[in-house]
């Protein structure tokens, strides 16, 4: 059972990692926690469900379309609800993000009802038995695709010009501007990438649990945020590490204690990390300039 739980934990950990990346990309640049990110993940999942169920799109095009659509939504939100507030007191965009979060989940409830929607049954139901360990097709997909995406992102950020611009902006917006980088577009890009990853995660989760519902963003968002903090918010490898680690911790809590206790663990981990090492495992120490 231990190995099985470990496998399950790593699977969900990958999902958390993908969502955590969204948080980290935005936080790295704006030092702002996008409260609504969990709901963007949920919207991505619904869009994917719609494409696959209603329009009968095959899997890969559905992933791509949903990712693009969600990226656009993420960019619009940034443009409309966050950018105008960038110069205000920090509390203001936070509250705005809360408003966006409420808006998105209520919108989903209005459009798709409050019930749970299953994915068409043909997906991911094939299972492989490897010496007692059960792997479903979808689990394999999650592991492989997430890994590929993370490698892709890492290469993008380290080996391309835009990626370098992104990193420069996260070090200092003003300096990046001085170097001629259009920081507004970079910020939009950060939101876009984060949202796209979240959408992919959302669809995979929808297939894995066979359930898509309007409030799925709430807990997943908090869990992923905790994962990001655990790994070191503002650091991409940190988000990945944090995601995996947290997924395993959460799963083992459910396995050896009980599942309702999992949310207690989430917040406990968060509080402990923030009290002991707020920058997380791989995070850099921040110097507070006065």
């Amino acid at each position: 059972m231990f190995l099985q739980q470990l496998a399950n934990g790593l699977t969900i950990g990958m999902i958390y990692a993908l969502i955590a990346l969204g948080y980290t990309l935005v936080y790295g640049i704006l030092k702002f926690v996008n409260f609504a990110h969990g709901d963007i993940y949920m919207i991505g999942s619904f869009i994917g469900l719609f494409l696959i169920e209603r329009l009968h799109m095959p899997l890969i095009p559905a992933f791509v379309t949903a990712a693009v659509a969600t990226a656009i939504i993420g960019m619009i939100i940034e443009r409309v609800a966050y950018r105008p507030l960038r110069t205000a007191d920090r509390i203001v965009p936070l509250i705005s993000a809360l408003g966006v979060s409420i808006f998105l989940s209520s919108l989903a409830q209005k459009l798709w009802g409050t019930g749970t929607h299953p994915f068409p049954a043909s997906f991911g139901s094939v299972t492989y038995n490897v010496g007692g360990l059960i792997f479903s097709q979808i689990q394999l997909l999650i592991l492989v695709l997430s890994f590929a995406l993370m490698i892709g992102l890492h290469l993008f950020v380290t080996r391309t010009r835009i990626g370098t611009a992104l990193r420069a902006t996260s070090l200092s917006i003003t300096n990046a501007q001085l170097m001629g980088i259009d920081t507004n577009r970079i910020i939009s890009l950060a939101f876009a990438i984060g949202s796209a990853l979240a959408a992919v995660a959302g669809i995979m989760v929808g297939i894995y649990y066979n359930a898509v519902y309007p409030t799925m963003g709430y807990m997943a968002g908090i869990n992923a945020f905790t994962a990001a903090v655990l790994g070191g918010i503002g650091s991409i490898p940190g988000a990945m590490l944090g995601g995996l680690l947290f997924g395993v911790i959460e799963n083992f809590t459910g396995a050896y204690i009980s599942t309702p206790f999992q949310s207690v663990i989430t917040f406990s981990v968060l509080i402990v990390v923030l009290l002991i090492k707020p920058t997380g495992i791989l995070g850099k120490k921040e110097i507070l300039k006065v």
Binding site: T114, G115, N210, A211, T259
Partner: protein, 377 residues
Amino acid sequence: MNRKLGWIPVLLALLMVLMTACGGKEENSSSGGTIQIGLAAPISGTQAQYGEALRNGAELAARQINEAGDIDGKTVKIVVEDDKGDSNEAVNVANKFANNKDILALVGHFNSSATLAAAPVYNRNRIVHISPASSAPGVTDAGDYTYRVITTDAFQAKFLADWSKELGYQKVALIYEQSDFGLGLLDVYQSAATAHGIEIVAAESYLPGAKEFSTILTKIKEKRPDAVFIGGFYNEAALIASQAKKLDLRTDYIGVDSLYSRALLELGGESVENFKLIGFFYPGGNNEQATKFRDAYVEAYGKEPDTYAAYAYDAASILIEAIRQNGADREKIKAYLDTLKDFPGATGSLTFDENGDVQTVPQKLIVKNGAFALYEG
């Protein structure tokens, strides 16, 4: 700025006084030709799907009586208020209904916590309410004016435990919802089953609305139970069964009437085949009322009714019958309910005991070939 704004509270207070003066007059005017029965249910919020079922069931009962033109030529109207599945809101709704002299009685609420929160208001104001879904044991003592057409969790769990013994289960695992509903079922089933010599090998809880059960199921798989008792609703039950299948967990499943719904079959597909449950609503079986209700429901709404629609239908029907026999008066309705015996409902032959709890006999059901059927032998 503040000078002008200073008048806001004064104006607000004035507004409220005026509003109530006018509103009050409206409330007091008699509504002449309609008989109003209230329905307090979660129309919005996370339980909205159940609220819809309740509403459909109750409105169907009203519609049927109106078509038959039976109560002194007056039409029956179901007045719906949304309690959002929230106990605070339930109190608001209760106050509204209780203080509206035109509401003679009502069907409500859905959640046990909503019913428990609202009951004191109804009891204080001496208006009858029949809950179509609150099965927590606490409702028994909630008051003289509190009735229900759903049996208590204790009753159902015990019945299920007896049936488990009959089916020869020796090791049973429990998966239950961490809520008043699930915990109530857990308690009784556990003690009743253990008294029968059945070993409870696991008792895992999940939060209402949970979607992920592989952690729990992996644990349970280790214990190799003969059966898994699902103490929760059909959504989660379907997910549990389908996820168990993915993990290659083979076992029997048993549950109470909260599993009875088309959604169980749709969400679960093949994985819910051979699910055994006890139900009070089963059309196409021995209960003629149930079949008639189902046919009427399908004709009216274009889909199959679930247990909760049936309960609401029965609750409304009982109230309508009370008004028909005893007249449009709150106390007289209560008098009728106190003497209710063997009322032919879609969920069985109903009798109220001295606490307002219903006495009826459940049926044993099984899922065969993607549909519910009576369990034979």
